[in-house]
């Protein structure tokens, strides 16, 4: 999942690259798009609303990310879950449960389970960088999406890549490489999930999609909406944030 | 009126070369006959007997027994016809070894669907009539050859067929037993009016037949009516 992340290789550099690349280079676009969402570091306040036919609930959270593979998320509201925290370092993932004051390591067998009951899986958090390294990319034309001219980029897993998807289709804005939409296809070719990026607004010096919506196709009526209330890019984040001690910290 | 009427009967065996086993034979056999087909080996007498009994099919010609033309019958009907109207006596291996003498005698009436009690009673009667009452519960292999052939004769006449066909019935018997068998058949012919047709090259049989039909190379060479004593029949 591209949860509250960013970093950018810099708008100027991006612009320069775009001018130079007259025929679109799919790998380069994928890399730039990935970087446009993540940045070097990122610190955000996010709310996550999970909707199902039976219930709807919203979690508030604070998140820290450091390129390439460290992430820390802490739930701040509601009271029942407040203090619940997730730490990811590389392929490892831990949850802290304040109700029982325990840290739980998430085993690989549960990577496809929903994260905090949302339509994002644990795997979506951990396999963050795989769009660039685990897939081969092809630009299959340009389409208009939400009023923006977008590349239609098809990402196919490399033969040995540890990827659960059969294929990804991304719509990436030509002007600044921000993704507008991602479609996740299963190994049998069925569309499984759709992630859309909306409300692109200024975040610091850069445009950023402030509203992400993950819709489950398999489970109609299930969707998860992330709304970024505040986001800050490329400020150094101390290493102590990404530690198990920090998981248990009472805040 | 004749019982068996044979017209232009021809039977050809073709193995390597075609042999006319029966060559355009026409004959009539009267009811109550005691007739012998005689001739050397290969003259066609057994073939003719088989054709008359419906065991073999002619290539040309017709055989009528009573008022049925057996040459036109399908196999199943022919089996039924034999069962109802023809009795057989063979040279040897006549009786079913697993059945007792009485059971052997009951075989044909059983096929005809006669009640068990009837056929058993009749078998005992006839067995007694040929002086074999005491062997009824024995198996054929416990009997002498002569006894076996007499049982075979009884089996052939038990259901009162129109004609009894006997293929060399005395061939495996010594003279005394052959004579006894002929005595029996003559008696049945005389007392019960059973029609007999033999194939034979036994002089004893030829001597006692009242009609002697000589075959050679599939043709009728001679056909003489004689008196029972061996004298030529009255014209």
């Amino acid at each position: 999942m591209k949860l509250g992340i960013t970093a950018a290789a810099g708008l100027l550099l991006a612009a320069a690259l775009r001018v130079a690349a007259a025929p679109p280079d799919a790998l380069a676009i994928a890399r730039r798009s990935d970087e446009a969402l993540k940045g070097k570091t990122q610190h955000a306040r996010v709310s996550m609303t999970v909707r199902t036919p039976d219930w709807e609930r919203t979690l508030d959270m604070e998140s820290w990310y450091a390129n390439p593979d460290r992430m820390f998320i802490r739930i701040t509201a509601p009271a029942k879950e407040a203090g619940t925290a997730t730490l990811r370092i590389g392929q490892n993932m831990w949850n802290y449960l304040p109700q029982v004051e325990r840290v739980i390591k998430i085993p690989p067998s549960l990577m496809l389970q929903p994260w905090m009951g949302s339509d994002f899986s644990n795997d979506d958090l951990v396999k963050e960088s795989s769009l660039v390294t685990d897939y081969t990319h092809a630009i299959e034309g340009e389409e208009t999406m939400g009023g923006d001219r977008c590349y239609r980029l098809v990402a196919t897993p490399k033969p040995d890549a540890p990827v659960v998807w059969g294929k990804l289709v991304l719509w990436i804005r030509v002007s600044d490489d921000l993704p507008r939409k991602e479609e996740y296809y299963g190994e049998n070719g069925d569309l499984r999930k759709v992630l859309t990026f909306d409300d692109i607004g200024p975040a610091g010096h850069r445009p950023y999609p402030m509203r992400w919506t993950m819709r489950s196709i398999a489970k109609p009526g299930h969707e998860t909406v992330l709304v970024f209330h505040a986001i800050e890019f490329d400020r150094p984040i101390p290493d102590r944030i990404f530690t198990q001690q920090n998981l248990k910290r009472v805040f | 009126m004749s019982l068996v009427t044979i017209q232009h009967l021809t039977k050809i065996y073709s193995n390597h070369v075609s042999v006319r086993a029966i060559d355009d034979v026409s004959l009539a056999l009267e009811r109550g006959a005691f007739a012998a087909l005689a001739g050397p080996s290969g003259s066609g007498k057994t073939t003719l007997l088989n054709l008359v009994g419906g065991l073999d099919r002619p290539d040309r010609g017709t055989i009528v027994i009573g008022d049925a033309e057996i040459t036109a019958m399908p196999a199943g009907a022919l089996a039924d016809f034999r069962l109802a109207h023809v009795g057989f006596i063979f040279q040897a291996f006549n009786l079913f070894p697993v059945l007792t003498v009485l059971e052997n005698l009951e075989f044909v009436p059983a096929l005809q669907g006669r009640p068990a009690a009837d056929r058993r009673r009749r078998a005992r009667e006839l067995l007694a009539a040929v002086d074999l009452a005491e062997v009824g519960d024995k198996r054929p292999n416990e009997l002498s050859g002569g006894q076996q052939q007499r049982v075979a004769v009884v089996r052939a006449i038990l259901t009162e067929p129109e004609v009894v066909l006997a293929d060399e019935p005395t061939a495996n018997l010594d003279t005394a037993n052959g004579a006894r068998l002929l005595d029996l058949m003559e008696r049945l012919n005389r007392e019960r009016g059973v029609t007999f047709l033999f194939s034979t090259h036994d002089p004893q049989v030829m001597a006692r037949a009242r009609r002697l039909i000589r075959l050679r190379d599939g043709r009728v060479e001679g056909d003489e009516q004689r008196t029972p004593a061996g004298e030529p029949a009255r014209p």
Partner: protein, 411 residues
Amino acid sequence: MLFLTMAWRNVWRNRRRSALTVSVIALSLTFNILMRGIGDGFHEQMVDNSVRANIGHLQVHRKGYHDDPGLNRTLPDPARVARAIRALPALRGYSLRVLGDGLASTDENSAGIAIVGIDPAQERTVTTISHAVTEGTYLGDDAPRPVLIGERLAATLKARLGDKIVLLVQAADGSMGAQLFHVSGIFRSGAPDLDRGVAYIRRQDAQDLFALGDRVTEAVVLLDASAAVPAAQAALRAALPVEGAGACEVLSWNQVEPFLEQFIVLDDAFFYIIVAILFIVISIGILNTILMSVFERVREFGVMMALGTRPRQVVRLVVLEAAVLAAVGIAVGGTLGSLLTIYFAENGIDLSSFAAGAASIGITTTMVYSRLTVANVVLSNLAVFLLVVLVALYPAVHAARLRPVDAIRHV
């Protein structure tokens, strides 16, 4: 009757050959009945193990739960369901359960598991899990929030009696529920799925953990015998709403666990393939015997036909002889097979050498007890009889097609 006499005596003309044929028929039948009996016993044991270990004979859920289980589909009106169940004539016991997925964790490790909330006394009337406790007690101690786990899960979590484990779930309202439990007992059922992936807790604790209030997800019913399943299923369907809001589904063990029945079907198919091969082999032997006996008696068949026996009657005689062989073989083999099957039904067969494979398909004991059914005996006998008669048809037709004129002269 005369034909039967002939057939019977013909059979014993060559005693040695016929005795051999009868032995082959008898032994194949013995094998057939015994193997079928072992299969029947084995399958029933498997079903019984499964039924008694976990799934019961019948399960009642909210309609649609089985296809897509979830805490949003709790059992409508459990009191009414319980009343309907108690009215069943063949009832042995029932249990209202809360079933949900979760994560079990210790400081050492975590594992995804199924969490089953039970009333220990009620569950005891349905499943054998209470007998499978090897350490500690069956949710019986006074500690708050006891949990009973399988020994393989205990090994995975490196949890011992008295240790704390965290159960983390997504509750019915979407919130994350987490609770600390104390390992009060460890069980070994022999069924890998249970030993590796199930934690039993008290029903009330499960309802708290899953934020279910007083709702449950399923009612599990145990009957006197699996034969009572269809009637009980129909009775519950009649007593409970099956359409509209609050509709229930009433599923039998084989609907809950179709794998079990599929395995049995597959196992049966395998058995029938072996039987088919066996039958082909013995057919060749029997065909040979009957053909020989026909060839030896060509002259006899010639005489029979000359005397007016119809071809159909010749067929009947030869088939009758085969039937006599079959009947004797069946009398011997049927008795022997039945006795052996009864013996192994009493004493069992130790299949411990196959136990490794057996455990993976839910077999919890290495002793298999065969089971003699009327269907087995009747069908096996019938199959062997028909086979022999069918095989005899070829020599019979061969005999019937002999031309009497050639047959009589046959040496």
